[in-house]
Symmetry: C2
Subunit: 361 residues, 2 copies
Amino acid sequence: METVKVDLGVRSYQIKIGEDILANLGAYLQELDIGSKVLIITNPLVNSLYGSEVKEAIAKVGFDVSKALISDGEEYKSLETAQDLYDKAVGVGLDRTSTIVALGGGVVGDIAGFIAASFMRGINFVQVPTTVLAQVDSSVGGKVAVNHPQGKNLIGDFYQPKLVVADKKVLSTLEERELKAGLAEVIKYGVIWDQQFFAFLEKRIDEILNLETDAIIKLVTRSCEIKAAVVAEDEKEEGLRAILNYGHTIGHALEAVTNYKKYRHGEAVAIGMVAAAKLAYKRGLLDSAALERQKELISNFGLPVAYHNLEKEQIIKALSKDKKVKNGVIRFILANQIGKVIITSDLTEENIRETLEELGG
Amino acid sequence: METVKVDLGVRSYQIKIGEDILANLGAYLQELDIGSKVLIITNPLVNSLYGSEVKEAIAKVGFDVSKALISDGEEYKSLETAQDLYDKAVGVGLDRTSTIVALGGGVVGDIAGFIAASFMRGINFVQVPTTVLAQVDSSVGGKVAVNHPQGKNLIGDFYQPKLVVADKKVLSTLEERELKAGLAEVIKYGVIWDQQFFAFLEKRIDEILNLETDAIIKLVTRSCEIKAAVVAEDEKEEGLRAILNYGHTIGHALEAVTNYKKYRHGEAVAIGMVAAAKLAYKRGLLDSAALERQKELISNFGLPVAYHNLEKEQIIKALSKDKKVKNGVIRFILANQIGKVIITSDLTEENIRETLEELGG
Ligand SMILES: NC(=O)c1ccc[n+]([C@@H]2O[C@H](COP(=O)([O-])OP(=O)(O)OC[C@H]3O[C@@H](n4cnc5c(N)ncnc54)[C@H](O)[C@@H]3O)[C@@H](O)[C@H]2O)c1
Ligand SMILES: NC(=O)c1ccc[n+]([C@@H]2O[C@H](COP(=O)([O-])OP(=O)(O)OC[C@H]3O[C@@H](n4cnc5c(N)ncnc54)[C@H](O)[C@@H]3O)[C@@H](O)[C@H]2O)c1
């Protein structure tokens, strides 16, 4: 088993990464200073696959465990679902010392974390992420939220878990498309932070796509290390944390113009990373070899490198509504080599238009 | 004008206390590092009295000010009202740099603070408290919340304002009963922390009840200083902050058995403080003179020192449901002299029964 520490002073915590470690969950929880009541929040699909195992693992060491199911899907990451969960938390008698365990992907983790952050002004929170995206990204760093009809994650908090437990085993039941979408964020870590990790991904494509244990544990571990390092420097997203948005600027615009229906988040980010690489190349920041390597790795992971049947002008309009726009200028995160990024506002609309032109398939 | 600093590292802020200082609100906001958009949250009553003045004061220095009204009353400190406020925040286009100004009593302050804490994971928050309770207590210290049908303040956060502005002027329109209820918390500060302040209250009863400027500004200032000192030591209520619950244990039980209808919170706390003083006397912690001084000051401020038409056993039952009960033992905050308290679990049910017997009028 690998352990990654997220260094945040009194809010520090461990991420445990391994194969078939769900069975130890009870023991891990016993190491925390928490009360006897535990509420597992999950959804019907994940529950049918891992719900009993996780509940049993926690109950067998003596915790008083309840479960709350929320409907599966991004549209249920809402204040309405939160209200049901508060009712449940009250119903099972959670107190200040109780613990909420999120068992699921990013949707479950985000809303369960929001409940943990706000119930009685904050109770213990443990993440058991079950998608690639959740294991390498959303379960680490303390961003918790629900959506508002007018915008994703508009209602939320920074609230760190007390523990994250990522079991490689659960990834085997993921739909292929979910698996690949999660890998987009992994490629991102290589580009923004770690050339060697990027090279590792290039070399191990088959093992990764076949979910071979060593490769996946290494991949999740290194991803968590990188995210942890960024978050430790900038917990509340006031500076450095922006680099985690590499590929996300155009990615978000693509999601917005397709109403979050056509692309999985990671797919949109994949195209966004190609766009960012092209922009960096255009501005003379990145050489063509580094651009091609990014495109190739993205493509080899089965992720899209271009968009189809979308209006360029629509994408530009969506870009201009981005939260990162200040006085009409968009800040972009661009790589100047694989493993290093800069943040720049020094791009012309022409650069962006051209790039989108080239990307439209 | 008096200024009290709440010392919380990067989250430190000032409380400005004075007569007729609402007009300077715009200037005060300009001193903060905040964006151009401001949303005032208030209720119809407070709005009719001070809404235009406050809006004008903020708008005249160039801020883009909107207003959101919530219905008046504790029952509207709910997640449903919060949902409306999120809609409003989105509707007027608040962004991460925007500011929410709470203009009202504790109800407005608590819910507005919860919105500020959770909208976009936290935006700027300024309190303009307009009741005695809000000026001396609820606006300071960062507890924000909404109620759940099953319990008060069950959904909330610790979220500090960037500034608190307490204008003595607004207290003149308060109902007499609200004014007096707020004074219960003021007496509490004297008992738990500051014998001299207690003596000041004893000497200035008439000036205080007549809202004479000097006395009120001194009273609000010293109250804020004491609350600030406690909060600075224990922001998240892990230890010392418990002493702020002096009088609240039996107070809460009285509120609960009367469904939060019969007593204003401060009235219940007043009776609770008499109960606590009697308990301390019974246990030999406090002398009879100090007990009598408390009773007398409470009574001189027009607050109740006994309850009527309530079943003692009901109160005991409500006590046993208190959050502060651990393994069937209730922790009480008791004064061992005026100006000093201890926390003790060393009370028999007999002590409590007797005390309630004596208090039942
Ligand atoms: N908090 C953060 O820092 C952060 C970062 C990135 C994304 N997010 C959020 O994460 C969410 C997306 O997360 P996601 O991609 O994990 O989606 P998801 O949670 O919707 O999961 C995707 C699908 O996989 C299913 N699933 C989960 N685990 C499974 C398993 N082991 N086997 C089979 N099926 C499984 C789910 O039921 C769901 O149908 C978004 O709401 C996004 O806003 C948060
Ligand atoms: N956050 C904290 O630390 C904390 C501490 C104590 C209490 N509280 C909360 O505070 C709330 C009670 O606050 P409250 O006692 O101020 O009650 P409130 O906010 O309901 O105000 C009482 C009444 O006075 C009116 N009012 C307010 N200002 C006025 C003015 N200047 N002139 C005339 N009328 C005015 C209000 O409209 C309301 O009808 C409760 O919800 C309680 O939970 C919070």
